[in-house]
């Protein structure tokens, strides 16, 4: 392709929007609306015109022949545009803010006046990134060295982060809002992460279990897939509402009586199953269905109850583990951080190491690091659960509410999120297992692998890429749905978003939305890295091990 059309498109978007659309809005405070400013209205300085030149230069560069130079030029322009689109209006904004009272006129209450980024700035950034992307593609096609590509991809962003850290962007409304509520933001973000982490962990156990069941039992599979599909169609708000009353009732119960009910129900299920095993085979038609239904329901009820309690309890405990100021937990968190950094560092070293023996011992060290991380995590959770239960006086008066189950608050949120995670997990587990080549399983059987060995050594590793895709799907979706949990008082980043909607404060909405988006992207990246680690290079789709 002679002309870099992507860069042309980006250049046009950036140039037109910077020229014709307002860049920022000067606002007197969080709530009142402000005055829009166009680029040409930034007076007294020709520096701002650099943005136009930068936005339109890619048009010329894109006509060059495709090579490393064109890629580097476009990427450089894109990065510069990315940074300056944020930086120059901030510089101009400082001047505007100094004069805010004059601009906004009499009778307006000034409280933390700020600059709200407008359409011109947003589209300018988008155009800048499009130019950058076009340049990166040139670099990839031309086979530019990795270091150049990395520098081109992250350079502009690095400048933005540095400028933000040095306080150059303090005039922007999101930053103003962040400075006012930074402490709260940290707490809400941890809550949000915990929602997703706990729901995903429990959903993973349930989802893989159900997917496995659906795979093994041809008659159960349509029912299971249908049911998890139905859950997905229930609006999340409705699901939160539906859980309200039963969970509140459950919270009132004594823990001991619920445990008794669990055991009794399980005993009933076992008895029904035994009954089915002995006489069920001889039953015909409807009678057989009834017994089977009895077994399923009496088994499903305790499993569901148990899951509800475990999910609520785990959420409370993990939130405590990651936010409590207790010195023991603070130390454990530091230990976890050290273990995490060590493990990731070692894992990266494994990838670079070419010598076989060194590679193997590094890999072993990395696993020790992961193991240490897991152990500290478990210790922290145990410590936190002791802390959480410390206020209970005796086991006899322990109610389910003391374990964290309640009608409003985090309990219904975690449970609803767990239910939402089921569809992608069950469906992908089922599809992954079903698509394993029967010849491969047959040869495993023929070589004398027992059923558990076949599952662990053949079926699971081969289905893993598909299961992991389901996990990534679920996690990204959960980050979004978790934002709605604020309506039942569960907390999380949704607090800012809902508050912002109620106050019609875009700044506040963005304060919740931007971390949520970053969280989803980060989670996806972490899960991709995990996938790289767990999936064998022999079946990796984009692995280095290409056919020779």
């Amino acid at each position: 392709m002679p002309v870099n059309r992507v860069a042309v498109l980006g250049s046009l978007i950036a140039g037109l929007s910077l020229f014709f659309l307002p860049l920022v809005e000067l606002k007197p405070n969080r709530l009142a609306s402000g005055i829009p400013f166009f680029l040409l209205q930034f007076e007294g300085d020709v520096r701002y015109l650099a943005l136009f030149v930068l936005a339109l230069l890619p048009l010329v560069v894109a006509l060059r022949r495709a090579d490393v130079v064109r890629g580097a030029l476009l990427a450089g322009l894109g990065n510069a545009l990315l940074f300056l689109t944020l930086y120059l209006p901030a510089v101009a904004g400082e001047v505007l803010l100094a004069d805010a009272a004059a601009w906004l006129g009499e009778g307006v209450r000034l409280s933390n006046p700020r600059l709200l980024p407008s359409a011109g700035l947003a589209l300018g950034l988008f155009g800048a990134y499009t130019v950058l992307y076009g340049g990166l593609r040139d670099l990839v096609v031309a086979g530019a060295p990795r270091s150049l590509r990395v520098a081109a991809a992250w350079g502009g962003l690095l400048l933005v982060v540095l400028a933000a850290l040095s306080g150059r962007f303090d005039v922007y409304s999101v930053v103003v809002e962040f400075q006012a509520r930074g402490q709260q933001l940290a707490q809400r973000t941890v809550e949000h992460v915990m929602f997703v982490a706990v729901a995903l962990s429990i959903g993973l156990v349930l989802g893989v279990g159900l997917g496995l069941w659906a795979h093994r039992d041809r008659r159960a599979s349509p029912v299971i897939l249908y049911l998890v599909g139905i859950i997905q169609t229930v609006p999340s708000l409705a699901l939160f509402g539906v859980l309200l009353v039963p969970l509140a009732r459950l919270g009132d119960q004594l823990a001991t009586s619920v445990a008794l009910a669990l055991v009794a129900s399980l005993a009933l299920a076992a008895a029904a199953l035994a009954l089915y095993r002995t006489i069920g085979q001889r039953l015909r038609g409807a009678a057989r269905q009834v017994v089977l239904l009895l077994v399923t329901v009496s088994a499903a009820v305790p499993v569901a109850l148990f899951t509800v309690v475990v999910a609520s309890f785990s959420f409370r405990v993990s939130l405590l583990a990651f936010t409590s100021a207790a010195p023991a937990l603070a130390n454990l968190r530091s230990a976890m951080l050290v273990a995490l950094i060590a493990a990731v560092g070692l894992q990266l070293a494994v990838r670079r190491q070419r010598v076989d023996t060194a590679r193997r011992s590094l890999a072993r060290a990395a696993w020790v690091g992961w193991g240490a991380l897991a152990v500290t995590l478990v210790v922290a959770l145990v410590t936190a659960s002791q802390l959480f239960l410390a206020r209970v006086e005796s086991a006899a008066t322990l109610t389910v509410r003391d374990l964290g189950v309640s009608g409003i608050g985090p309990a219904p949120a975690v449970i609803a999120l767990t239910l939402y995670s089921l569809l992608p997990l069950v469906r992908n587990t089922y599809a992954g297992l079903t698509n394993v080549d029967p010849a491969v399983i047959d040869s495993g059987r023929g070589m004398g692998m027992s059923a558990p060995q076949r599952f662990m050594q053949i079926e699971l590793p081969l289905a893993l890429p598909v299961i992991m895709a389901g996990v990534r799907n679920a996690s990204v979706a959960l980050v979004g749905i978790a934002a709605i949990a604020t309506v039942i008082g569960a907390g999380g980043l949704g607090d800012f978003i809902l508050g912002g909607i109620i106050n019609t404060s875009i700044d506040q909405i963005l304060l919740g939305a931007i971390p949520a988006v970053l969280l989803a992207v980060l989670l996806d990246a972490v899960l991709r890295a995990t996938e790289q680690l767990l999936v064998s290079p022999g079946i990796r789709v984009s692995g280095e091990a290409a056919p020779s």
Binding site: D437, S443, G444, G446, M447, G448, Q453, G538, I539
Partner: protein, 336 residues
């Protein structure tokens, strides 16, 4: 040794896949099960390592009823190679070959030696191919790994279901030759399933022809070609069965001593280990009655003629028949 005694397999729905099968695979021999699709050959094979349960009858493996063992234990003692190869794509070649030794709990050191030894045996370079993944290998190399894996824990008995089925004819011929060479040294008891009569004739010490679950004829390749028991077998082995018989005889076994005129025969010479069938093809193509025979070093060592061929083949068949009679008599005496 594998013995089938009155083996019956019924599938749900009343289909009788195997019907009263009596068959003995002698120790150290390759017995080939052959027949049209759905004749029960693969089913019979899978009954041996209990991949499917048998309905009635008895299968003994080295003298012990295969129901005496737990299925997994039984299968680990029996090598298993299948047509689609079934290599585990997520394991390296080395890990694939090591599966059964690891299941049996061998020490890591011993496993590693065994893997390298097996890869060399099947013509792969351990240092190059041990740590690559199956998808990085060609089809022929994958089949070799499949054979190496089946030999993993040195099982006395092997089941092979069209193990060379998934490659092109030239590679298949090479793999067949290599396996026969390996078999000459390791002498496994092999039950080999195929639907290709040429492969059966080439690989089999004995061939069992099956039709709709019944054993129709069980004989050596030469006997099967010389005396098919009925029209079905005759049609199955093909109208060129006498030519195929020639394929079983080597030129060096039927050639005459070279005489003074032999060096004057110009043109294409045949190698002494060529099959008589191929030598005949050369004779027909040359339009002469005789052609020289050379050894692997290219030295003249004999001559074959059309008339000589015909006589020699007849003689060879007679000798084999009398040998068999003699061995049967010896066996009968032994029993008495």
């Amino acid at each position: 040794m594998i013995e089938f005694e009155g083996v019956v397999k019924d599938f749900p729905g009343g289909v009788r896949a195997v019907d009263a099968l009596d068959l003995t695979v002698e120790k150290g021999e390759i017995s080939v099960l052959i027949g049209p699709s759905g004749c029960g050959k693969t089913t019979s094979m899978r009954l041996v390592n209990r991949l499917i349960p048998l309905t009635s009858g008895r299968i003994t493996v080295d003298g012990r009823d295969n129901l005496e063992f737990a299925p997994e234990e039984l299968r680990r003692k029996i090598g298993y190679a299948i047509q689609q190869i079934g290599l585990f794509p997520h394991m390296t070649v080395g890990q694939n070959v090591a599966v059964v030794p690891r299941l049996l709990g061998w020490e890591e050191q011993r496993v590693r030696q065994r893997v390298d030894g097996l890869l060399e045996l099947v013509g792969l370079d351990p240092d190059v191919q041990r740590d690559v993944y199956p998808r990085q290998l060609s089809g022929g190399q994958q089949q070799r790994v499949g054979v190496a894996r089946a030999l993993g824990a040195d099982p006395p008995i092997m089941l092979m279901d069209e193990p060379f089925g998934a490659v092109d004819p030239i590679t298949r011929a090479v793999l067949q030759d290599e396996f026969l060479q390996i078999q000459a040294t390791i002498a496994k008891t092999v039950l080999f399933v195929t639907h290709d009569i040429d492969e059966a004739i080439k690989m089999g010490d004995r061939i069992a022809v099956m039709r709709t679950g019944r054993l129709v004829q069980y004989a050596t390749p030469d006997e099967l070609l010389a005396q098919p028991v009925d029209d079905f077998v005759r049609a199955f082995v093909g109208g060129d069965r006498h030519l195929k018989r020639l394929g079983l005889v080597r030129v060096r076994d039927v050639m005459a001593e070279p005489d003074e005129r032999t060096p004057e025969l110009d043109g294409e010479a045949v190698l002494e280990h060529t099959s008589v069938r191929d030598a005949l093809s050369v004779l027909v193509g040359r339009g002469f009655d005789a052609t020289p025979v050379v050894d692997a070093q290219g030295r003249l060592c004999g001559v074959i003629t059309l008339n000589g061929l015909r006589a020699a083949v007849r003689r060879a068949a007679r000798e084999r028949a009398s040998e068999e009679r003699a061995s049967e008599e010896r066996a009968a005496e032994g029993e008495a």
